[in-house]
Symmetry: C2
Subunit: 156 residues, 2 copies
């Protein structure tokens, strides 16, 4: 079982980096997990930056190994933490043993990236910063593993 | 305009504390905002801890100034960031100039606390750690102010 998490741009906030590290380390009790950083756009305008980052994601996807890929976007399908855990389990069972998550940059991604992904998932109908999305996703992945293993981390 | 954020237990993770501080400071450009910490339960079991923390919240509510109060709970009403911003604006206009948010401890709160609050709101249908909820809430409050002022922080 192997997870890849793609994100755009280096984390600027030290506290975000620490949150990511904490949950990455915890997730590694359960699975191989790799973070892949794509370069942030040099363009300053939102539209140009989104286009530049989307092209970089698409180019990287073309040369990356085939793998079931979930894009994170607030307009995607929302699940409870328990539903998300069951969905990960099903995906691993029916779609192969590797799974890729793509989180975009600060301006999101173009329609072409949406189409290139197998599924679009959402953590909330609210917009979070793309940096916070990384920590929240890692915490949910960790939570999912504890739910599937029946460990005591998740309450309710 | 004044905001109160009640939370249960001292933040154990330094990175969470830094995230909270960053967004508290940013929010203070727009409003007076105060964090109030209630003691974490001494009980070890989830049920007993939830009861103990709920009683402490209710006791504090009884002696606190009357103020429109929103409880954070994943079963509450979910809004997009823009809807949340408009809702805050309406609440300030029609419910008085002060607003209180209550985030529970790791095991949530009892039904009595739900009933004592004016409204139950949700950041996601997923369960987040009660510590991460503090940072996510503060970021959404900051985002709401930038949306209402037409500043460039929020995209899409």
């Amino acid at each position: 079982m192997r997870l890849e998490i793609w994100h755009v741009g280096k984390t600027k906030n030290k506290w975000i980096h620490e949150g990511e590290s904490q949950y990455l380390q915890r997730c590694r009790r359960f699975t191989t997990i790799e973070e892949i950083m794509l370069p942030a756009a040099k363009s300053k305008s939102a539209t140009a930056a989104r286009k530049e980052e989307s092209e970089s994601i698409l180019a990287r996807l073309q040369r990356a190994p085939k793998m079931y890929t979930m894009l994170l976007d607030e307009r995607g399908k929302m699940r409870s933490s328990v539903e998300f855990a069951r969905h990960l389990e099903n995906t691993f069972m029916h779609r192969g043993s590797s799974l890729r998550f793509i989180t975009g940059g600060p301006f999101g991604v173009d329609e072409k990236v949406r189409q290139a992904c197998d599924e679009i998932i959402s953590l909330s109908s609210m917009v979070f910063t793309h940096e916070m999305v990384r920590v929240i996703l890692l915490e949910q992945v960790y939570r999912a593993f504890t739910i599937l293993r029946g460990e005591s981390y998740h309450h309710i």
